[in-house]
Symmetry: C2
Subunit: 408 residues, 2 copies
């Protein structure tokens, strides 16, 4: 049965490589579910576009264009970091009401779910019947109520492959230490994914630091020195949000700045750690910080991630059109041997502003590494094996080489 | 006619994604050119491995392993940054002489060519007949005597694609400024390659800064402000080696450190520039620094680059076995409409320690951009078109969107 009314979709927060697959899923499902006369609008620049009534007709673009958009990184509608208070949400709902919008979809992370909840509260307060639905999206993978978040698998693939590549470079190099900075302000899911790069014990990464564990200067330097003595080279992966034992952020540059949501911006952690290794251990160290490249590389998209980004959005749209509201669509992993998922819905109330941290079971007892259990969790999400490389020498020979290299 | 004597190959300086294709080319050609009893050895860890007589038999690995090695980033033999003086070179030639080595190949950049020349001088001084040959390799593309250098095309592909990807992300983002740091201490060839990313005038990158042009604080801030006012977002690409108008390096961290060749290590230029934009223009700015990932990504390898890396090495080996010495194999571009190359040889004397800078004709009159002439030079080297994306809105609409976004 076709539903009356119109649809507005917004994208919030930082984009991912598959956020437009969710957008496409919503448009497709909404177009099918609505009456022929129903409109599907996209708000330009996130919730701010809703407030400003800056909307674009999403039923207009051709199928060919949609196929291309789906494969394009960045938020096709534009995004913002604004959070609405209830008063602003009420004003926004007034605008939606005037345009007979009966379905509001917000694709985003924790903060965007809060805004979706505010919109839902505002609609209730106004006694206006409108379904408010969140579609999960974050490379941080820190939304609760879902097994994982669309966007995460592709970012995990990017950073794990980059760790393999970096390991090949540093292994052969006279600069023996590299610190790879990974996005993630509060949760270490993405940084932990670099574990996938390691197959042999001496493979990169040798040390993994997540924001869930305080990183003291002493422990860090001790860890690096110990790995260097063992292998002759060290690749460290570290989350941009890692804190010291007093809870202060590592990194120097942006420490006092905050983003649009009021969160402090993390600094250049890897650069600071590399400088520390140079100064204190006398080892040549450098840092790499792919930053936004890690969430915008279409070449590194996980096929599973893209499919799920579209699938969870289609589920969300149809669930809303079945009369449900104030929920976030979610991905649940089946308890089967072979990886499989099904989609569901959780109350927005339970996910808005909640940060799901990396569980303690995934953090090694030394607190500088990730446990193998995490590999089982994350490997199916990256959409197939990484590109692996060969080395000229056998392990025994490599050990000899390493010994030689230390003297260089 | 098969040649008597043995071969030693070393890899010097930072690796590239195709350095092992050159290694493979040398091994293949040397194996064909030598007598059946002739040895082809690889020195572990660069010239230091030659000095220490730490060698590996390169005729041993299977064809299957060689195919994998060829596709693997990093220096398969290991590398170093040591430069030999004549005395050390004489000692090294003594070791080669004792093992009846009649061909020495050094795969590397400017400094490695200097070492190859020293080895050649040492052999002459000892009246020992040994061909000394350099095989060009550097992502910096700053060797003279060759149209371009193996490794450069793949690194150019990586950074140009990354600029396209980053542009898609930033265009849709409330953080309107991103500074992308590109490798290259002295020469701007690689940073200039980000020009390929730009098709429409408003595409990233909007500003390109190379080390050949001093970058003053005032000009930089003025440029960013102007682009921001025009488009509402700014992507800057900057070489790690860029200097200010007094010749001092930008970037803070490693300023006083030097690498093994005695060159100062460049700092985190992009991070410093982003902090400056934050502080002085009040615009949210961030930095990305893929660093070594830009030369170790096998996924981004340019097919043309890999073929040439192998081809120029094969030429070098056969040229040496024809009785030539003290040369670097080189790539010359044919004057044909369709891109084609031939290989040649230039005296080591003319390339050792010479840095080929980006010619002035490729730098825009405003000195903050690269001319279209450079596109003609660089595009054939990246091995095919980049991955391009679609956008939802037409140009007219996007302009309207940009106007809206500025208010966010």
């Amino acid at each position: 049965m076709s539903q009356a009314g119109n649809v507005v979709i917004a994208q919030g927060g930082g984009p991912t490589a598959v956020i437009n697959a969710s957008l496409f899923g919503l448009v497709k499902a909404a177009t099918q579910g609505l009456k022929r006369s129903g409109k599907v609008w996209g708000a330009r620049g996130g919730i701010v576009g809703v407030q400003k009534h800056s909307w674009i007709d999403l039923r207009m673009p051709s199928n060919t264009l949609w196929k291309q958009i789906m494969l394009s990184p960045g938020a096709a509608l534009g995004s913002c970091r604004k959070m609405l208070n209830l008063e602003e949400a009420i004003e926004a709902v007034h605008i939606l009401c005037k345009n007979d919008v009966r379905y509001f979809f917000h694709i985003g992370g924790n903060d965007s779910m809060d805004t979706a909840l505010k919109m839902s509260d505002a609609a209730s307060a106004l006694n206006y019947e409108m379904a408010c639905c969140g579609i999960p999206k974050t490379i941080d993978n820190d939304l609760s109520g879902t097994d994982h978040c669309p966007g995460f698998g592709s970012a995990a693939r990017y950073i794990a492959q980059s760790t393999v590549d970096l390991g090949m470079d540093i292994r052969a190099l006279p600069t023996p230490v590299s610190i790879l900075e990974v996005m993630g302000r509060n949760a270490g899911w993405l940084t932990a994914s670099t574990l996938i790069a390691r197959r042999d014990p001496d493979d990169a990464p040798h040390l993994i630091y997540v924001p869930e564990v305080p990183l003291s200067r002493t422990n860090f330097l001790g860890d690096v020195q110990r790995v260097y003595e063992k292998y002759g080279w060290v690749v460290v992966t570290v989350s941009e949000g890692v804190k010291d034992e007093n809870g202060a952020s590592w990194g120097t540059d942006h420490r006092k700045k905050t983003d649009g949501f009021g969160h402090p911006l993390p600094g250049d952690v890897a650069a600071e750690l590399a400088a520390l290794v140079n100064a204190e251990l006398g080892l040549r160290a450098r840092s790499e910080k792919p930053g936004l490249l890690g969430r915008s590389s279409a070449l590194m998209v996980s096929a599973a991630d893209r499919l799920e980004a579209e699938g969870v959005a289609i589920f969300g749209a149809s669930w809303a059109m079945k009369g449900n509201t104030s929920f976030m669509a979610s991905i649940q992993r089946r308890r089967t041997r072979k990886y499989a998922v099904e989609y569901g819905a959780v109350p927005l109330m339970s996910v808005a502003n909640v940060t799901r941290l990396l569980p303690a079971e995934y953090i090694s007892s030394d607190r500088n590494d990730i446990t193998e259990g995490y590999r089982t969790y994350v490997e199916p999400l990256i959409g197939g094996p990484l590109l692996r490389y060969a080395r000229l020498e056998s392990k025994e020979r490599r050990t000899a080489t390493t010994k030689t290299r230390k003297g260089i």
